[in-house]
């Protein structure tokens, strides 16, 4: 049994809810142990009011003997001492005994409970078998006692009386009875909790609502709510307990804030009292009774209240196993307290708060270390590091305050201050007296001496830095390091300081924080000056002198530092080399001339733009750029090589202009792309081409390594190596003003080669600034050039047959043209050089400016034309023009290759068709002897023949015509005059011109047709040698400009061999032919001439009967489905070899339609001897020579520009039809009036593909048809679309053309080789 104390108020965690026991104390004592053990064994669900979540709770109880004093008096709100349940124990089984004593006792108990308004009671009746046995005689049923008790006390509350059977026996019955008892007790306890706590909370709330009333005291309220927290803590409900403290915390905070806003509460007065104790948090006790008493008395200071509140929160959080929340809250608390004291304007001794914070930080850390192992601590650095850093910070400021940081040590004033501060700490708490490392001891020791302070400070700093590093908060670590560096600087130890500063600087530079960079760099400069590291100091000074973040005075100061050093006259060994980037930036480099390519000896100027970063103007003794000379890349004719690699005349160097911070670093450096071409070394043909990135190494850098390209922010001066080049660009004594400066160098250009600018130096006294690499690389070229002569047409294209101007360009190169030097041109008879009256040469310098102009003298002898050149300096251009004429070679006249006297094949101009123009081209070679070379220069000019000439032989019955077509292929318009055709061999032959006009206009891309009728007296010669000649001149030029044009051609087999007549006869007895009825077609072939000698010899072999015959084959075919050829459609006839021999063939045909139908096509073919056929006929499919008979067709074709020339070998079998056909032929020739230019017929445009299949040619068929019926012209217009429905060659709706419908204009379509034509049949006469 727990001995109840006189005053059971125990502020420890051993608190349990109080349960009083009345009645049989002995009985209770015997059961106490099992009861106390078993009660917390099973959890109970505690349903909460106000919507709080239900909780499972293990109930424990502190069983004390019932005493009247334990019952709370009115107004006593204490909860901890509140008995939550009252139990009456009895094992009475004797009715008499019950009635006599027990009942009375119970009544008294009940009465006292009732007077105190306590309704939480229970009566436990214990039954034992022993008692049963003992009092067997006066046994009453057990129930009767219980019933009696129930009826006496528990009216309507039967559950207030519980029976416990055989509690000390180990039987199931006993166990069951225990269980029900325990359950009952738990239930009743919880009911009591709910009821009493609820009531308490209600009271508490009421009290809180009164907080606006004047007499309200926070401290009183604090005690009330804390009571609740204690109860929750007692019930192990730490979360709820913490909530109470948090509520108090928030309430207090709000009051302080309201105070700050001007809303003053009276009770806050005590908290505004000056702080005179700053002993820090105390977290080692569960409850700091001292402070609690202070609060209870209303004497606590703000720090006391906060400390107490936090210590309670800390305790609960640790119970809740949330130590990291403690550290977080601690930091907040410390910050908050400092702010609150400021807000409440509490007077605090200087440094006192620092002490308090320092001690508190360490106390929290100690507390946490006390409840966690090392591994846990290490893993949760991030939670504790803030406290470490804060403590470090505070210790540092304390050290500064107490004069412990200075080199000299503390003054007496500092010592006084230290004493005051230490006094405020009070005595060390008993808990930590034994501990060697207590915060109290640490602070006292740290403030005791300079050395101790340094030790403690360094220890803390390093601990904080290491922790920051461990959780990779590197920036924070560096900031601590920087603060450490400042400490070292104050201690006069710049060496240690610099290391920390450099590390911090590196981080700021790499991340582009310019202001911290400047600040840190200034500190570094100080270090370096103290350390006497001149070079580094000067470098840093230069950086600072150009730092826009500094004031002008500061910049001038640093600049002066450099200049002062530079001005010191010391020996050369003391020269200091610094990076150029800190001093000035190369922004632009410009070549004059801009091509950056000069011939050797010429003047090349290099202008560089330097942006000087110094705040004042700086005098530079020498500015120089070293040059790397590369001989190999210099070509002998540098100009053409220079074109291969264009050197920009102006190079811009990109720098970040904004010194405020890095910019455009996100995208990295821009791509520098260049086109490359890989050419074959042998024939210069292109193998491959592509684009290369020139700065891959910059672009492809890992993104992490990209530091903002802020050049002046470089951490330390890059190692500068001086490369002494053989040649230098130098300028002496320059003054660089702040900002942009322009300096001009004169570049050496003696030897031909490539000169690359490598480095830039600026010398200021002892200091030399060096730009180690000029990037992008800058180079210029000096070249030496051979003289070059080029001839090019003044205007493209050069036309043969007309006088044309050509331009001679002479690049003198390194050669100086002296007076008397002459160009010797070998004359050719195909291209004479025309003497001209005014011929002047222009001399221009390399930049293209005109230097001089002088007349040329040209002397021509038989073989050579000599051109005397004016004196020209080297690397100049000499230009003059000459007029030349290329004689057009006349037609097919190919004289045999002439050989010159020296046996060399004379270069005959060869004509060929040029792919770019339809004109025929002639390459005309020129051989020029130049004074600078022993070799002749060979040049070629390409001339174009403006005309294309074609001829054809036309037959109409017995008449013969020769047609010549002159086509103007050039872009110029010409006038043609005196068109003439002559025959060379046969004098008797008369050519009667049908050309009416003497002069004809021949426009560009047009043709001119000329026609002659051939008249002969005796026999027509089988072969005609014709010469067509005309004069031509460009349009609008006078008669003198006419130039002759000649065209020679030969016509063979001119004579007509056979005439073919065809007639369709209606069936016997009929007047007309009817569709569907057979008609007779009579074909009559007549031989017109005696066979020639060769023909007889040829054919006689086939003769079998002695009579000389020629075998002819005829064929009647109608592919347009107008006629059905019945029976035999083709056959063979043997023509006797005599003149006027006639052969008639009868063939049956049937018209398929009514109307005027065209005749079916009749073909007459001649067999050729087998051997001859192979040689002549290129078509291997047939051994017969195939020729169309239609005169009209041919004429039309010729008119359209697609007619075939009557080839010399071609058999001209002239077919003759009925007179209608002849009339038609006339009409055709009418369309071919001599001298009339005929526009190409549209229908021919698409017929080219069908050329080899002439019988299927759509156009012809209609012509035949129309001409047969009435003189009609049919125009074929290509339609707009393609018709895909017809197969190639297939005819479309030809059959729809009805002769009957001819009276009116008619339109029809047919498809022809995928092409859609629209046919317009127009009535013509």
């Amino acid at each position: 049994m727990e001995c109840q104390e006189e005053k059971p108020i125990i502020y420890t965690m051993e608190n349990k809810p109080i349960v009083t026991c009345a009645g049989d104390q002995g009985l209770f004592t015997s059961l106490y142990t099992s009861l106390a053990q078993q009660l917390p064994r099973e959890p109970m669900e505690w349903r909460r009011t106000y919507g709080r979540a239900p909780k499972m709770i293990h109930l424990e109880a502190n069983f004390v003997q019932f005493k009247e004093e334990l019952l709370p008096k009115d107004g006593n709100k204490a909860l901890l001492t509140f008995p939550f349940l009252h139990i009456y124990w009895t094992d009475c089984c004797d009715t008499e005994a019950y009635k006599s004593t027990v009942k009375e006792d119970m009544m008294r108990w009940q009465n006292s409970l009732r007077t105190h308004g306590s309704a939480d009671w229970v009566i436990i009746v214990v039954e034992t078998n022993d008692t049963k046995k003992k009092n067997k005689t006066n046994i009453l049923p057990r129930s009767s006692i219980v019933d009696k008790i129930r009826s006496d006390f528990c009216n309507k509350q039967n559950d207030r009386c519980v029976v416990l059977s055989d509690p000390l026996k180990d039987s199931s019955r006993s166990q069951e009875s225990w269980n029900s008892l325990l359950l009952k007790l738990r239930t009743l306890l919880l009911m009591s909790f709910t009821k009493n706590l609820g009531r308490f909370e209600d009271d508490m709330r009421t009290l809180r609502e009164k907080r606006t009333q004047p007499g309200w005291s926070f401290c009183e309220y604090f005690m009330v709510q804390e009571e609740l927290a204690f109860v929750f803590e007692m019930l192990q409900q730490f979360e709820d307990a913490l909530v109470q403290y948090d509520e108090l915390d928030a309430l207090f905070t709000q009051y302080v804030l309201n105070f700050g806003a001007g809303d003053t509460a009276n009770w806050l007065g005590s908290f505004c009292a000056p702080v005179n104790n700053w002993s820090g948090l105390l977290l080692r006790r569960p409850i700091d009774m001292e402070k609690r008493d202070g609060i209870q008395r209303g004497e606590a200071s703000l720090l006391d209240l906060r400390s107490y509140l936090f210590s309670r929160q800390c305790t609960l959080l640790i119970f809740l196993l949330r130590p990291w929340e403690v550290t977080q809250r601690a930091l907040e608390l410390l910050h908050n307290c400092v702010q609150e004291l400021r807000l409440l304007e509490v007077s605090v001794v200087e440094g006192a708060l620092d002490c308090w914070v320092f001690l508190s930080c360490l106390e929290v850390l100690h507390r946490i270390e006390g409840c966690c192992d090392q591994a846990q601590l290490a893993a949760n650095c991030s939670h504790t590091v803030g406290l470490w850093a804060y403590a470090t910070d505070k210790l540092k400021s304390l050290g500064e305050l107490c004069g412990l940081v200075s080199e000299k040590g503390p003054t007496s004033e500092d010592l006084n201050r230290t004493v005051d501060l230490l006094a405020g700490l009070g005595d060390e708490r008993p808990e930590t007296v034994s501990s060697l490392q207590s915060p109290y001891k640490k602070l006292k020791e740290a403030l005791s001496s300079v050395e101790a302070f340094e030790r403690h400070y360094l220890e803390l700093s390093h601990a904080a830095m290491e922790m920051y590093r461990a959780i990779s908060r590197l920036r924070s670590a560096r900031l601590v390091g920087k603060s450490l560096a400042e400490f070292y600087m104050k201690k006069g130890d710049p060496e240690k300081a610099e290391a920390f500063l450099q590390e911090a600087l590196k981080s700021y530079v790499s991340e582009g924080w310019s202001l911290p960079v400047t600040h840190t760099r200034k500190q570094i400069a100080e270090c370096q000056k103290l350390l006497g590291r001149t070079e580094d100091y000067l470098q840093t000074s230069a950086l600072l002198a150009g730092d826009a973040n500094l004031t002008m005075e500061e910049r001038k100061h640093f600049c002066q530092e450099i200049l002062t050093f530079a001005g010191k006259s010391e020996d050369q060994s003391d020269k200091v080399t610094l990076s150029m980037g800190v001093f000035s930036q190369l922004t632009r480099l410009q070549f004059q001339p801009a091509t950056a390519s000069v011939h050797s000896g010429a003047v090349l100027q290099v202008e560089i733009n330097l942006r000087c970063l110094m705040p004042v103007s700086v005098h530079i003794q020498q500015l120089a750029a070293s040059i790397h000379f590369d001989l190999e890349r210099a070509g002998t004719n540098g100009r053409s090589k220079g074109a291969r690699q264009t050197i920009p005349g102006t190079v811009e160097f990109s720098h970040d202009t904004s010194s405020a911070g890095p910019s455009s670093s996100s995208g990295g450096p821009p791509l520098e792309l260049e086109e490359i071409q890989d050419r074959s070394p042998t024939d210069n043909s292109l193998n491959s081409t592509g684009v290369v990135c020139k700065n891959t190494h910059l672009v492809m850098r890992l993104p992490e390594s990209i530091s903002p390209p802020d050049t002046p922010n470089c951490v330390s001066p890059p190692a500068v190596t001086l490369k002494e080049g053989a040649q230098m660009l130098k300028v002496q004594d320059v003054t660089l003003e702040p900002g942009n400066n322009s300096i001009t160098f004169t570049a050496p250009s003696g030897q031909p080669g490539t000169y690359t600018l490598r480095q830039l130096f600026a010398t200021v006294g002892q200091v030399q600034f060096v730009l180690p690499h000029i990037y992008p690389s800058v180079q210029y070229e000096v070249y030496s050039q051979e003289p070059q002569l080029t001839v090019e047409p003044l205007s493209e294209p050069l036309l043969a047959g007309l006088s044309q101007m050509v331009k001679f360009t002479l690049l003198t190169g390194h050669y100086t043209v002296k007076k008397g030097d002459a160009l010797q041109l070998s004359n050719t008879d195909t291209m004479p050089i025309l003497p001209s009256t005014s011929c002047s040469a222009r001399i221009s310098n390399p930049t293209g400016e005109l230097v001089g102009e002088s007349a040329l003298s040209i002397q021509s002898s038989e073989k050579v034309t000599s051109i005397s050149l004016p004196a020209t300096p080297p690397y100049h251009t000499l230009e003059f023009q000459l007029e030349v004429l290329c004689i057009i070679p006349s037609g097919s006249d190919h004289p045999p290759n002439e050989r010159l006297t020296n046996g060399e094949v004379r270069h005959r101009p060869r004509s060929y068709s040029h792919p770019d123009t339809p004109m025929t081209a002639i390459d005309q070679r020129m051989s020029i002897d130049c004074p600078w070379s022993i070799y002749s220069t060979l040049l070629a000019l390409t001339f174009y023949i403006p005309f294309k000439t074609k001829h054809s032989l036309l037959s109409a019955g017995n008449r013969k015509y020769i047609q010549v077509c002159v086509q103007n292929m050039s872009d110029k318009n010409f006038t043609l005059a005196e068109v003439k055709l002559t025959e060379k061999q046969n004098a008797s032959l008369e050519l009667e011109s049908l050309n009416t006009k003497t002069q004809q206009l021949l426009c560009s891309k047009h043709s001119l047709f000329c026609l002659w009728e051939v008249r002969w007296q005796d026999d027509l010669p089988s072969c005609l040698q014709c010469v067509f000649s005309t004069n031509f001149s460009p349009l609008k030029q006078d008669v003198s400009a006419f130039k002759p044009f000649q065209y020679q051609f030969q016509l063979e087999r001119v004579t007509t061999l056979y005439s073919v007549r065809a007639e369709i006869l209606p069936p016997a007895g009929e007047q007309n032919c009817r569709s569907g009825f057979l008609c007779g077609l009579e074909v009559c072939i007549t031989r017109l001439t005696e066979p020639a000698e060769g023909e007889i010899a040829e054919d006689s072999k086939t003769d079998t009967e002695g009579l000389k015959t020629t075998k002819l084959m005829y064929e009647v075919a109608d592919s347009s489905s107008n006629w059905a050829v019945c029976g035999k459609s083709s056959g063979m006839v043997s023509m006797p070899m005599t003149a006027d021999a006639t052969h008639k063939v009868q063939i049956e045909v049937m018209p398929l339609f009514a109307g005027h139908l065209p005749f079916p096509k009749i073909k007459v073919l001649k067999y050729l001897p087998h051997t001859a056929a192979v040689a002549i006929q290129p078509d291997p499919d047939s051994c017969v020579e195939n020729d169309s008979l239609s005169l009209l067709d041919k004429a039309l074709d010729d008119g359209g520009g697609h007619g075939q020339h009557p080839q010399p070998r071609q058999r001209a079998l002239c077919g003759q039809r009925r007179p209608a056909a002849e009339g038609r032929g006339h009409a055709a020739s009418g369309a071919l009036q001599p001298g009339t230019s005929v526009q190409p017929h549209p229908h021919t445009a698409g017929s080219g593909a069908a050329r080899h299949r002439r019988p299927h040619h759509g156009g012809q068929r209609y012509m035949t048809l129309v001409a047969r019926a009435r003189p009609l012209f049919i125009k074929l217009n290509p339609g707009p679309g393609l018709c895909r429905d017809f197969a190639p060659g297939q005819m479309g709706s030809v059959s729809t053309l009805r002769v009957a419908g001819m009276d009116s204009p008619l339109s029809m379509t047919c498809s022809h080789h995928w092409r859609h034509y629209r046919l317009h049949a127009v009535k013509s006469q």
């Binding site: 804060y390 920051y468 582009g512 405020a660 911070g661 455009s664 996100s666 903002p708």
Partner: protein, 139 residues
């Protein structure tokens, strides 16, 4: 309200940083720079949890005795850091959030400017105006 507002590029260099003129600008530079530690820590912590919709607002980065530093990270890892005076207790979390939202909107406008090169420091007057508004308000 705010004593320092800064925008920091993905690569951690400042795109914009402005503080109240009465206080030491340098100190804020250091503070903001150091806060990047916590920003990175928070970003990487978020990355691990693979939240589908990342919260841009990082909350209080760390308090100091005098200032509270709040962070915000856009989806393109541009950081906004706002430093608030600790004594300014009237400022609630929601107000800080709305400040960041405003800042983000204005920043987006700056980025939408076709004449602005992303990665350059922010020179926009409109943005400056927004920032000034935040610094003056209740300041």
């Amino acid at each position: 309200m705010a004593v320092c507002i800064s925008v920091i590029a993905k690569e951690n260099y400042p795109l914009y940083i402005r503080s109240v003129p009465t206080q030491n600008e340098l100190k804020f530079h250091y503070t903001v720079h150091t806060s990047l530690d916590v920003v990175e820590e928070k970003i990487s912590a978020v990355g691990k949890s693979l939240g589908d919709q990342r919260e841009l607002y990082l909350g209080l980065l760390y308090p100091t005795e005098d200032y509270k530093v709040y962070g915000y990270v856009t989806n393109s890892k541009v950081k906004f850091v706002i430093v608030v005076d600790s004594s300014n207790t009237s400022l609630r979390d929601n107000e800080i959030r709305s400040m960041f939202r405003k800042l983000h909107n204005s920043f987006t406008d700056v980025m939408c400017n076709p004449f602005h090169t992303p990665g350059d420091t922010i020179q926009s007057k409109a943005f400056d105006g927004i920032v000034s508004g935040m610094m003056v308000q209740a300041g």
